[in-house]
Amino acid sequence: MLFSSLVFLFTFLPITLLVYYLVPRKVKNVVLLIASLIFYAWGEPVYIFLMLISILFNYFCGMDIALKAGRKSQVHSLIFTIVVNLFILGFFKYYGFIVTNLNAILPFYIPYRKLELPIGISFYTFQTLSYIIDVYRGNVDVQVNLIDFGTYVTMFPQLIAGPIVQYADVERQLRERKESLTKFGYGAWFFVMGLAKKVLLANTIGSIYENIAAMDGMSVVTAWLGCLAYTFQIYFDFSGYSDMAVGLGKMFGFEFMQNFNYPYISKSVTEFWRRWHISLGSWFREYVYIPLGGNRVTVPRHLLNLLIVWFLTGLWHGASWNFVAWGLFYGVILITEKYFTGKILAKLPGAVQTIYTMILVMLGWVLFFSPTLGSALTWIGNMFGQGATGFMDSQALYLIMRNWLFWVAGIIGSTPFMHLLGKRLVFDEERPHTVLAGCLMTGLFVLCVAYLVTESYNPFLYFRF
């Protein structure tokens, strides 16, 4: 089920909230678990069994690892659990990719059927791995309550698109958390803002991108506009979804980490990755980069560590070479910034730093959105005049003029401007503008509903991962 759907907003959410707040504390997690399973089954009726198996498996493995604490066999249990989890992920997500590539090099043909990707599998596998590894490390207590563990894995606010909540961060919240009217309201505000980002900005700007992507030839400006449209779409789509997740979490008393922190104002690519999909970055740092030795190793080893992490980050996003290319693209840039250009960059004017960052990020998105590496190179070629139908044409002008409001909204929405303005005008501690806030939230919500009722275009990008 999507948050940005009428069934979620006006059937699932009200019923879940009602039951959740009616039942006593002890049963609240049961309600959340059942609701989450229904939420998942709505979009993936068959893969719900895969998820149940995954929960049971990791629940028992967690206990096994905890019981073997201090013994040598503990590490074997850990490796076994990790391998099985990665095997499941690999089988459903990468099987087709691996076989196609093998078929390309092997002298014989391996037949295969492409499997439908279970929604959210990349997210929940990483969550269970964080639990398993932290139990092994002794960072968290083993979870003996199956309901609580199931709730952690399936929790519907962040189930299908993150943030990737590490078990250590919610361990206590699973047992004791506080719901309150003000927290609920804060969550509702977050949720509606996220919904507006997704429905009003991401969907509309996304249709501009779709339009351009379907074109045969394009001018230089059109190629950049298409790339810019996607840049906005993926940010508002994904960060909007994360905002909705955080907001929903608050409604049920949880505090999740913020997943985005205005990534498009970054002054270097290194900074960009501290602000973009923060929960994924911290997961890789915690469970891959640091175990590999991080930066406390020799320089060649450090370079290798970085490349491994970025290869995996790319691959995590999808079973295709252009995601790998996209990941390695960032790996190389980050290494360059770390060892060569970082210091020079810091001396440049701020605007230049941001423009430099955004150009690289946008080129990265071309690798990301293109179906194949070849088409990505064609598009990038178009952006620099190679194969383009001229620098500027009436099509590009139309795209700019017809959608000018969305371009402006995209730029403003990518900066903290609205946030600061709201803090100043609405959320003033001395004189809160309650009426204004209420009107703003209700207005945006009503507008979102209007778009949802009439929508013809409501895809969700991060479903692919």
Partner: protein, 399 residues
């Protein structure tokens, strides 16, 4: 500072609402819950509708629950469609959305341009190369199979092409004229090309297209008919004088329904009737429906949303129009809905016209061809439908 804050909060606890940021949060909580409860309540009481007059389509109904439906996910899909279609106040929501879009400066909605002077125009369709080639090959083969029958092709340009100057500012469409010329060149000499584009271009400042509908008006059809007369060989017959009569002044067409633009715009529909009572009389046989009528018009459609259906009551797989015309001329027409207001102009000139709409026709064409001795075949399509058509080749190739 901290103390002061605490004091303030203490003071405020006496009130119903907390102060500062918390006040806003509490209000947001009530508003959000209120919105959910309100919409749930209204939707629970809202009765399901069979169809939407405004959008001119059947609405999804509550799906039946079944284990296999749930396992395959079909039930969920249908249920989501159902909720969205039956959402209370749907028409108002659509209005709100288009209003918001127009405030945002968008002049295109669902492939419909909001043009100047209240003109709504369908975007120009671009042909799928394979489908187009298949259709044109089928047409050429068809001509080869019946070399003695004269075949005419009349491809009617769409409003966005003819009235380009009425498109919204900066809007660009694919080049339809070029696509039409390509068809003409492809068909070559085997077909008699009736140039509707030239005729309509000459009258582009008149009301030859509806403002809110994707069809041409009867006036547009009338001009095209005048231009086609010679090529169809009708100039040799005695001219049948006709006059336009308004049958409606409250038409609001499908483009308006599709886009939500200009939903209050009303326009007239005209029909052309022979001036003289001595003109040939016609009888219409709706073959598949097994229904006969003495009129080419269905005035009951004027009370419905899609008033353009007044012509023949809409589209039919096959219509047989016979007239008291004594000249022995038989015409076969392959057509889309653009022909519906064109056929009444032709009818009195022919003894019999068989009309086939390939989008609905499933019968055997060869038996029709051998039953009747046709003198002429006319393909009459508007360019958008023709370039998106995937049915014509199938009907023509049948043997």
């Amino acid at each position: 500072m901290v103390e002061r804050k605490n004091n303030k909060q203490k003071n405020r606890t006496k009130h119903f609402l907390p102060g500062g940021k918390k006040q806003i949060q509490a209000v947001c909580a009530f508003l959000f819950l209120g919105a959910l409860i309100l919409s749930c309540g209204v939707n629970l009481m809202h009765k399901d509708r069979q169809m939407s007059e405004k959008e001119m389509r059947m609405l999804a109904q509550k799906p039946e629950i079944s284990l296999s439906g749930i396992a395959s996910g079909r039930f969920m899909e249908q249920y989501e469609e159902y909720v969205s279609d039956q959402f209370a106040g749907r028409d108002t929501w659509v209005r709100l959305k288009t209003f918001a879009d127009s405030v945002a400066g968008r002049t295109e909605e669902g492939g419909v341009f909001k043009g100047k002077d209240h003109y709504l125009m369908e975007d120009v369709a671009v042909a799928d190369e394979n489908d187009l080639k298949e259709n044109l090959d089928a047409m050429k083969n068809f001509k080869e199979r019946y070399p003695d029958i004269k075949m005419h092709m009349m491809l009617i340009p769409n409003a966005a092409n003819v009235m380009e100057d009425k498109l919204p500012a900066f809007a660009v469409t694919a080049n339809q004229s070029r696509q039409i010329s390509r068809v003409k060149a492809e068909l070559g000499d085997s077909y008699d090309w009736i140039d509707a584009e030239k005729v309509l271009d000459a009258h582009k400042d008149e009301a030859i297209y509806y403002h809110t509908d994707h069809h041409w008006t009867s006036l547009g059809a009338w001009y095209a008919f005048q231009g086609a007369k010679t090529q169809l060989g009708l100039d040799k017959s005695e001219e049948i004088k006709m006059k336009a009569y308004a049958v409606s002044d409250s038409f609001n067409g499908t483009l308006s329904a599709k886009s939500g633009y200009e939903t209050d715009y009303k326009e007239p529909i005209y029909i052309y009737l022979p001036k003289s009572a001595d003109a040939p009389q016609v009888a219409v046989n709706y073959v598949e429906e097994q229904k006969k009528s003495a009129s080419m018009y269905d005035s009951s459609k004027l009370d419905e949303r899609d008033q353009y259906s007044v012509f023949f009551g809409g589209n039919h797989a096959m219509i047989d129009i016979q007239s008291t015309q004594t000249e022995k001329r038989r015409l076969l027409v392959f057509k889309d809905s653009y022909a519906n207001c064109f056929l009444p102009l032709l009818a009195p000139y022919y003894r019999e016209i068989v009309v086939i709409d390939p989008r609905y026709y499933t019968g055997k064409l060869s038996s029709v061809m051998s039953d009747k001795q046709f003198d002429d075949v006319l393909f009459l399509y508007n360019a958008n439908t023709f370039f998106e058509d995937r049915m014509l080749a199938g009907v023509l190739d049948e043997n």
